[in-house]
């Protein structure tokens, strides 16, 4: 599968996750979110940017607790929980946010 954006073709897997992480840019995230009827706010971007930084270092998306803790530190303790993340990413923070961040879908019993 693939989609076109600004004259460039982006390869994805069956569920729309980017095939090549290095293809990613801000517009790709925005496009994917739009497809899900989601407008990316600065709060979404905090999560997406953290996911990319973490992936860059560890080659895997962060565990949900790692993510909530990091977001809690950045945006305040009241936002450092999965309830808040589910409000931002109703399909599940791990899967939906990873997709917009250009990361592969987490696999396993999750």
């Amino acid at each position: 599968m693939a989609f076109e954006l600004n004259g460039k073709t982006y390869e994805t897997d069956e569920e729309g996750y980017l095939a090549d992480l290095s293809d990613w840019n801000n517009d790709v995230a925005g496009y994917m979110a739009k497809e899900d009827d989601c407008d990316l706010s600065e709060y979404h971007w905090e999560v997406i940017n953290f996911l990319r930084e973490y992936y860059d270092e560890y080659q895997i998306a962060p565990a949900v607790r790692v993510l909530t803790k990091a977001i809690g530190k950045k945006l305040g303790k009241d936002k450092g929980n999965s309830k808040y993340l589910y409000e931002l990413f109703p399909y599940g923070p791990a899967k939906q946010a990873c997709k917009y961040a250009g990361l592969p879908k987490p696999t396993g019993c999750v």
């Binding site: 069956e14 569920e15 729309g16 899900d36 270092e57 560890y58 080659q59 895997i60 962060p62 565990a63 949900v64 607790r65 790692v66 803790k69 999965s82 309830k83 589910y86 399909y91 599940g92 791990a94 899967k95 939906q96 997709k99 987490p106 696999t107 396993g108 019993c109 999750v110």
Partner: protein, 498 residues
């Protein structure tokens, strides 16, 4: 995100047998594995040219290898006892989700090629040629069985549809048509050591974070040791316990139990996964290879005991198959069961007075327990029959004042699958997962209404993830789902160390 168009069925007051809806789920098929998911597992990358011959040769091999398979294919008398027992039939109404019909998908081909009557008089005995249509049906409906074995409880011959499903999937993978979800995951275990593909640095980072969190929370320095040589216990949890909620609170619970009991333990970055999807795809070699990592880690770390975390099918593999897959365990301390389940471990400590619990910590909850299929029907806990039912409930009662069971026909060996077991916990099967959860959701709603149940505890990573995802479809909260060891962990009484 994958927008799946389907309607969540309304929850009935009483579970009833649905009217038959032929073909209702014929469209349900998981993504097919790509060559890069197939080949590392020893399967052809894509459909082979001579697929009929390869499939029949594989069936022949499996019939010789598993005597049970031939008995199951021969023994059915079409009595119908199983027809209304499968949660996928109850949730979808598709008659091919009746266990006998699911078995017949393989049985009709078996009869055509492996029985005298089927070779000479195929029409008389319902025998059919292996065609592309049959293969398509296999792919669809062998991925609508969670291998939960509920039907086998009611079968007067004890026919286990799970084994037939496993054979069906094994044949499919051997002709190049494997399932992406399971096979990709098995590949990650072979290369990285867990289903998530969580490498050692990320695992270490995650565990450090948990240590900080628990320290902040209860002012006790509970450790989450990784690769610690010479520890007494190697704990092998499902990797979802590192990653997901509510699983991680169960992992914290295990760590608190070890801490309070003063027993040295460690996790392994090489064998950081209890789950073994080799059983789901019915492939012995992959199941053995996945299990072998745990034996290797136990030997390398020099541990005396192996304890398995809250993971349903992992426990079935460990309890029922490890001894022949990766045994003998003569290098472990013979005073303890090998392997041991974390619930057995905690239960032993509890009854020896090694743990101090205060139920008040969970007084805000009314808890029920979901028996996981692989623990209930594929294994046992403890040293007495039925321990797999009593031990988790003993643990919950030790940690909670308010516990109620769901309806008797939905618990213990009669338990309903969560709807996501057996390699089906993937978004491309979401419709099936939601509909298959209907019987459990119905029983749960009943105790919510009758007894004010607030939480459903489970001891399986798949159950926890599945319910978190599908309960909201039935109007129940995802945060109802809780690990048994979270209840324990929250009730353990610690003196502050600071």
């Amino acid at each position: 995100m994958a927008k799946v168009e389907f309607e969540t069925p309304p929850l009935p007051d009483q579970l009833s047998i649905p009217a038959v809806l032929p073909g209702a789920m014929a469209h349900s098929r998981p993504f097919v594995a790509k060559p890069e998911h197939q080949q590392p597992l020893g399967f052809p990358g894509e459909l082979v040219d001579n697929w009929q011959k390869v499939a029949l040769d594989k069936m022949d091999e499996l019939l010789g290898r598993y005597r049970s398979l031939q008995v199951f294919l021969d023994a059915c008398v079409k009595c119908g006892a199983c027809t209304d027992k499968c949660h996928y039939y109850l949730g979808t109404g598709d008659p091919k989700n009746m266990p006998v019909a699911r078995q017949d998908l393989l049985r009709k081909v078996y009869r055509r090629y492996f029985t005298v009557a089927g070779k000479w008089f195929p029409r008389l005995v319902g025998a059919v040629e292996l065609s592309e249509e049959v293969i398509n049906d296999w792919y669809s409906y062998y991925h609508q069985c969670s291998e939960c074995r509920r039907c086998s409880v009611y079968c007067p011959y004890g026919i286990d549809t799970a084994e037939i499903t496993m054979a069906g999937r094994e044949i499919l993978a051997s002709i190049g048509v494997g399932q992406k979800y399971s096979n990709e995951i098995i590949g990650k275990v072979h290369t990285i050591g867990n289903n998530l593909g969580l490498p050692e640095p990320a695992l270490a980072n995650t565990l450090e974070g948990l240590e900080e969190e628990v320290e902040e929370d209860i002012s006790v320095s509970v450790k989450f040791p990784l690769d610690q040589q010479g520890a007494d216990v190697l704990l092998v949890p499902p990797s979802a316990d590192f990653f997901a909620e509510p699983h991680v609170d169960g992992l914290i619970g295990y760590a608190k139990v070890f801490h309070q009991a003063g027993i040295s333990w460690t996790l392994s970055s090489y064998a950081s996964e209890a789950a073994n999807f080799g059983i789901f795809i019915g492939n012995y070699e992959n199941m053995q290879k996945v299990a072998q990592r745990i034996r290797q880690a136990a030997l390398d770390l020099g541990v005396k005991r192996i304890v398995v975390g809250e993971c349903g099918h992992a426990w079935r593999v460990a309890y029922s198959f490890w001894n022949t897959l990766i045994g003998p365990f003569d290098f472990l301390d013979p005073h303890y069961p090998a392997p041991q389940h974390i619930c057995e471990f905690t239960h032993d400590l509890l009854y020896q007075g090694g743990l101090k619990l205060d139920r008040e910590a969970n007084d805000d909850k009314v808890v029920t327990f979901h028996d996981s299929c692989n623990v209930s029907r594929g294994s046992r806990l403890g040293s007495t029959p039925g321990g797999q039912f009593s031990i988790p409930r003993d643990l919950i009662r030790a940690a909670c004042t308010h516990f109620v069971d769901m309806a008797p026909e939905t618990i213990h060996e009669h338990t309903f699958c969560c709807g996501g077991g057996g390699g089906l916990l993937t978004d491309d099967l979401l419709e099936l997962r939601v509909k298959g959860a209907l019987p459990r959701a119905q029983a749960l709603r009943q105790v919510i209404e009758a007894h004010g149940v607030t939480h459903m505890a489970a001891i399986c990573a798949i159950c926890k993830s599945q319910f978190t995802k599908v309960l909201p479809q039935y109007g129940m909260g995802m945060d109802m789902v809780i690990s048994v060891h979270q209840l324990i962990g929250d009730a353990l009484v610690f003196e502050s160390e600071h």
